[in-house]
């Protein structure tokens, strides 16, 4: 029996829903099902797009005969596959990616503010942020932008009231209870505590993103970090 519900997302996609909250266990289920579906490579499947607690299947409607209801056919296909409910099936395949970070200073202009908000020293914020065990809940907002689960709750801080017009590429930010990395220079409202020089997105590289949905991530403190 499946532990998700099927909704439609317009006429080109089904949305499979495990829930409606941010929860690491639900997100693992999302990635397990995404991997299971992608492995089958049905001819109508254009894309499998994970989010926190939902998964969109984008469908090429014109693969189906004109008399068919494509999304209904996809739903029947899903029923027939009997995908398991075991999130552990993909756990063994999870990649771990180490990301070196220079915390503080010009690279992390909001580090002191995050520390003040948390009632911690800047060094303690860096220690807690860099020892977390993170997983990529999804890539979105911008090409290659990872939404990471697993941050120490003490570091949570609301976004800036007024987003910056310019956040440097590679900036590590805190937005609420989440942390993420800006792949490209642009506007952004997350609290920036550090920066990596690893390219998060390069369209002509294969694969184009450093991280994939479901990956595990560790931040490694660059000795050049500026913390008082």
């Amino acid at each position: 029996m499946s532990d998700w519900r099927v909704e439609t997302l317009g006429e080109d996609a089904l949305l499979l829903r495990f829930g409606d909250r941010i929860d690491a266990a639900l997100n693992r289920r999302v990635h397990a099902l995404a991997a299971g579906i992608a492995a089958q490579r049905p001819p109508w499947l254009c894309d499998v797009v994970p989010a926190y607690a939902t998964l969109a299947l984008f469908v090429d409607r014109f693969v189906f005969p004109a008399s068919a209801d494509p999304l209904h056919e996809v739903e029947r296909w899903l029923d027939a596959q009997a995908f398991g409910t075991d999130a552990e099936t993909v756990a063994g395949e999870q990649r771990v990616v180490d990301i070196p970070v220079r915390y503080g200073g010009e690279d992390g202009p909001d580090l002191e503010a995050v520390a003040a908000h948390a009632g911690l020293s800047a060094q303690e914020v860096v220690a807690r942020h860099s020892t977390g065990d993170y997983s990529v809940a999804m890539l979105g907002f911008a090409a290659g932008f990872p939404y990471l689960l697993g941050m120490d709750a003490a570091l949570a801080m609301p976004r800036l009231d007024t987003p910056r017009t310019r956040v440097a590429a590679g900036s590590i930010g805190i937005g609420g209870a989440q942390t993420g990395i800006y792949p490209r220079q642009g506007p952004g409202g997350w609290r920036i505590i550090g920066r990596t020089t690893l390219p998060l997105f390069d369209a002509v590289r294969t694969p184009p993103t450093l991280l994939a949905p479901g990956d595990r991530v560790r931040f490694v403190v660059d000795p050049a970090s500026t913390t008082r």
Binding site: A51, D69, R184
Partner: protein
């Protein structure tokens, strides 16, 4: 052969049928916003329907052709001339070597499509030549055209033209495209309800000047979501109608982000998305409810009309 950019126009980008299969990496679809006009422009010059073309927004570029070329302009009604010769839309046009094509204002509609026989040669990145303006790749170095750009065109052996020659026949894009200043588009139900069951459909919306290839921002009587709880980010798609907290709907277009946390109050059907592309700031937009079976029928019929247009053009040789 190649086309040199003498003046870039307001926002001219190289676009094809769009990029599929990378939304899971946060990479949007891009591609021609008005896919129907884009396809017909290509078919008129003998290209595959999804070949790369120039998408011209509101005010067009000036272009120099270093060889004879066959072109077509579809979509918005745009001022176009070569010297004193005025060029009509929706026709096959032979252009002599050394011509300077001056594209002016879009008179009706917002986006015109220029196809060149052979197709603009652009590297396919992640399976598409389309410009992704937000991520900064594809098309011409990931950006809109700039003065001095040289756009290579896949070489065809065309008979030399001494003068501009305009075909006597043309394609009528109705009923798939309508350049009126009020559009009616049909909408499938979204996940989230609006307070007041018919409020989305009750009156006309006006297109805000802040609209772009990411989305049409609408002005009108603010709506409210029937359920104001905070939502987490979930996948969205081109055509999705979002309702931010200010109550003014945003209709997502081809350059939209892949995920969003606003309520989704509907989805514009695929067959009506070309109409969205032609709306300008200040234009009106009305939504009508649509059932899934009806959306499927309309989409298949549109595809069949396009197939008939392709046959009609092919029969002209």
């Amino acid at each position: 052969m190649s086309v040199r950019v003498l003046a870039p126009g307001l926002l001219t980008t190289l676009q094809d049928g769009g990029r599929t299969g990378f939304r899971h990496l946060g990479v949007g679809t891009s591609g021609a916003l008005d896919a129907h006009s884009h396809a017909i422009a290509n078919l008129l010059v003998g290209n595959p329907a999804t070949a790369p073309v120039l998408e011209i927004t509101l005010a067009g570029p000036r272009l120099h052709f270093d060889r004879a070329a066959r072109i077509a302009l579809c979509g918005a009604e745009i001022d176009a001339r070569i010297g004193a010769q005025v060029l009509p839309g929706w026709r096959r046009i032979e252009v002599p070597s050394g011509s300077e094509l001056a594209l002016g204002a879009c008179r009706r509609g917002a986006r015109a499509y220029l196809a060149v026989a052979g197709g603009f040669a652009a590297p396919g990145i992640l399976g598409s030549a389309s410009t992704d303006l937000r991520a900064g790749f594809g098309g011409v170095r990931g950006r809109m055209l700039a003065v001095g750009d040289v756009l290579p065109v896949v070489r065809l052996s065309l008979p030399p033209a001494d003068a501009v020659a305009i075909a006597a026949w043309w394609i009528d894009p109705a009923p798939d495209l309508d350049l009126g200043t009020t559009q009616v588009v049909r909408v499938l139900p979204g996940r989230d309800a609006v307070a007041g069951e018919r409020a989305l459909f009750a009156e006309a919306w006006r297109v805000d000047a802040a609209s772009d290839r990411q989305g049409l921002r609408l002005q009108g009587n603010a709506l409210s979501s029937a359920d104001a709880r905070e939502r987490i980010s979930e996948p969205v798609a081109p055509g999705t109608i979002q309702l931010p907290a200010d109550g003014r709907p945003i209709v997502l277009l081809a350059d939209a982000q892949t995920h969003g946390g606003y309520p989704r109050i509907g989805h514009v059907i695929a067959a009506d998305r070309p109409r969205l592309a032609q709306l300008r700031a200040g234009d009106g937009l009305r939504f009508e409810p649509c059932a899934p079976a009806e959306a499927r029928r309309l989409s298949i019929e549109q595809r069949q009309r396009l197939a008939r247009i392709a046959l009609a053009i092919a029969s002209r040789g």
